[in-house]
């Protein structure tokens, strides 16, 4: 996969969730340019072109980052902060996709500049629909700044 053509960076440590999410996106042909990383460190490496992603260019941003909050090593909140702090990446849409309905998580995410906050429903139908909706929205409908 060409890491400079990635449309969705999906940060998720739970493989079941990841499988279900990717399946839902695939169903709507939205997972063709999707990179799935399993923790915050890997996510940051990708975003800022470090480590195994060092040969990609930071400027070639994905169209959206789907970010879980509870992650090994570096948590989602930290990833979000770093993305929004960096001038090169701060315009990059970040959608938090998490199990947490905690108010404090919602509030903090928005404070750090999250573009959307989605709670993963337990209900499979709802979950599938939510993932498909957000993929459609961010990849097809949203007009990113140039």
């Amino acid at each position: 996969m060409n890491y400079n053509e990635v449309e969705i960076l999906y940060v998720e440590d739970n493989p079941n969730d990841a499988e279900l999410t990717i399946r839902a996106l695939k169903k709507h042909n939205l997972a063709n340019h999707l990179v799935h990383v399993m923790d915050g460190e890997e996510a940051l490496d990708f975003i800022f072109a470090k480590g195994k992603f060092s040969d990609r260019k930071v400027e070639n941003c994905p169209k959206v980052i789907l970010l879980d909050l509870k992650l090994p090593k570096v948590d989602g909140m930290e990833v979000l902060r770093k993305v929004k702090e960096d001038g090169r990446t701060k315009k990059l849409p970040v959608v938090v996709l998490t199990s947490s309905k905690e108010e404090q998580d919602v509030v903090r995410s928005y404070e750090l500049g999250v573009n959307s906050y989605i709670v993963k429903p337990v209900d499979f139908d709802k979950f599938t629909k939510a993932v498909a909706d957000l993929g459609l929205y961010w990849l097809l409908l949203n007009q990113p700044p140039r």
């Binding site: 739970n14 969730d17 279900l20 199990s99 309905k101 905690e102 998580d105 993963k120 337990v122 499979f124």
Partner: protein, 777 residues
Amino acid sequence: MFSYTREELIGKGVEILIPERFRKHHVAFRADFAAEPEARSMGSGRDLYGLRKDGTEFPLEIGLNPIEIDGKTHVLSSIVDITERKHAEERFRVAVESAPNGMVIVDHEGKIILVNSEAERLFGYKREELFGKPIEMLVPERFRKGHMMFRSNYTASPQTRSMGAGRDLYGLRKDGTEFPLEIGLNPIEISGKKHILGSIVDITERKRSEEILLTSEKHNESLLRFSKQASQAQTFSAVLSAALVEVRFVLGYNNVWAYLFAEDGETASLITIAGGTADSVNKDFPVLQVKGDRMLEEIFENDRPVVVEDARLDPRTNKDIVNALQNRTIINVPMMLADRKLGALGTGSFGDEDVRVPTKEQLEYFSTMANRISITFNRIQLTEQRERAYEEIKKLNEGLEERVNERTKQLELANKKLQMFVAMADSSFEFVSLANLQGEVFYLNDGGRKLIGLEPGQEQPKPIAAYCEPATWNLIQYEGLPAVLKEGRWEGEGRLRNFKTGEAWDAAMRAFMVIDPATHEPLCLAAINSDITQRKRTEVEVASRSEELERLNKELESFSYSVSHDLRAPLRGIEGFSRLLLEDYAAKLDDEGKRFLGNIVANTSKMGQLIDDLLAFSRLSRQELRVWTVDMMNMAQSIVADVSKLEHGHTVNLALKSLPPVVCDGSMLRQVWHNLISNAYKFTRHTQNPRVEIGSYQENGECVYYVKDNGAGFDMKYYDKLFGVFQRLHRQDEFEGTGVGLGIVQRVINRHGGRVWAEAAVNQGATFYFALPQNGH
């Protein structure tokens, strides 16, 4: 007797012995006697006279006795020469006539037979007019009957005595006037008959002088009494009242007044008046104009009494006053004191009392009284002046005494206050000290001495620095004292020494400048330090406990977070893959297998709901209340809309009544309404004609909201489980639920300081109430 010899007379006619002028009659008398001879005296009261040989006559009495001599009747005449007796009678007559007393002789029948010239003068009759008349004509008509009785008694047992036995006797003159008299009575015999000689003295003069004497005595006694009264009188009016008593008694006037002349003689001011006219005089004539009032002018100019006999006629009087007061007789006498004319003392008659002119003696009496009154008035004036002076001195003294007392009281009060303040300061557990402006402590209370560990009797250190730990002294030196000097006060915390234990103690220090309220100059520095060692210790403990609590809270939070995040993920996996199985491998499963997979999905969704509710419930405790005024009506309406959407196909007859707004945490209250309303819908699902009523009422300062349904209800014996978390009163196959909803309701309402309760019966519906304080909290 006749100077004849016997021989010369025998045989001669008896008429030879009778004066020529009687002889003719005597012959006739003799013949009469011869016809009826009997022994008797001759002449029957007439004066008989004999004729001597020398031709002289002499008075005689003759007794005639018929005697039989040789059968012939002869007459024996016994002859007595009464010349001597006649002389005596004449002397008596002359004596009576010339007596200075009136003499009246009456016979036994009371007929007047003799009066002397004095008696003529006394009664004004000529004696001829009186002879033979009854004595009673000289007695005033009213005494006559009594007189006749007294006279006959006297005649029965005559004796020499004075008449009247002490009664006042009066004679009646010819002109009808009467006069007082005294009568001495003497029984006398004249020509052998009993007569009464009355010796009469006119006692008019004596009576008069007696009366004068009596009057003068009366006046003197009256004046004596008055003097006594006056000497005790303290006021002018008391003097005049006493005077009036005497004047009434002695003079018969019913008013007494006194006027004082002004120095210039222009006016006379009423000092006081006693008697019936007092009120009108006091009211209308307190001051009289002397000028132009002739009577007053006369009184003022003369030192003599002025008597107006009839004020209505007398040209000297002021007729206005006379008409007003109905004056009749007016008597004014000067009141003099050592040739100084004080004024006039007056009395007189008014109206019906008519004119009553005083006698000379009465005027004298009244003048004397005026003198006494002058003296008394003078005494009273002097006494009053003296008393006024005394009063003034007394008042001055009292004022002085009062001021001294006041000052003493103030001092005592101040002293007492000081003592109280010292006692208060001493009994305080705080460290209370005073220091002079040089920073030397000169007072330290008992509490302070204990706190710094001084032994009884041990002198407290002078410099403030001696009390402090070095750091504290620095604080005081560089922050405290400058603040006190600049702003008057300072507060801070520091550590002070305890000399006994050597351990410092934590002190909350308050220092201020004591200002003299009078001069506004600073007097001294005061410090009040509280021992806060214990508090400090407690604060530290509390702080560490708070930290612990915070840590626990954080743990709980991360636990909740984990639950929220981590518990949900596997559920999602179970559900997701079960659904995938159903979607992608349906053909390979029989119906029973599909049903099992369906059960797995249903259970995972149920567990998801449980987790959500549990998280919501635990959040309620941690979440801070954010209160504002919430439109309950609006909120209930929107929730009803949500709920009825969820409960589609279940139509409820809803009565939404008025719900007043309330200050509360809106997002929490939303959960309350949501849980209660959705319960009402849920539990009426199997009810015919389901009804839900939402309303409110005011009670005891609370607003009570309620949601009432006619659904399944519950048995009140399980009421205590109603609001418990995960407690359910219905089976899952009847009504689904996690048992958290009412737990949330109760927690939210409790956090708002309100109450929640319910009433229900099985299959008869339930009503849930919650009350919130009306003024927020």
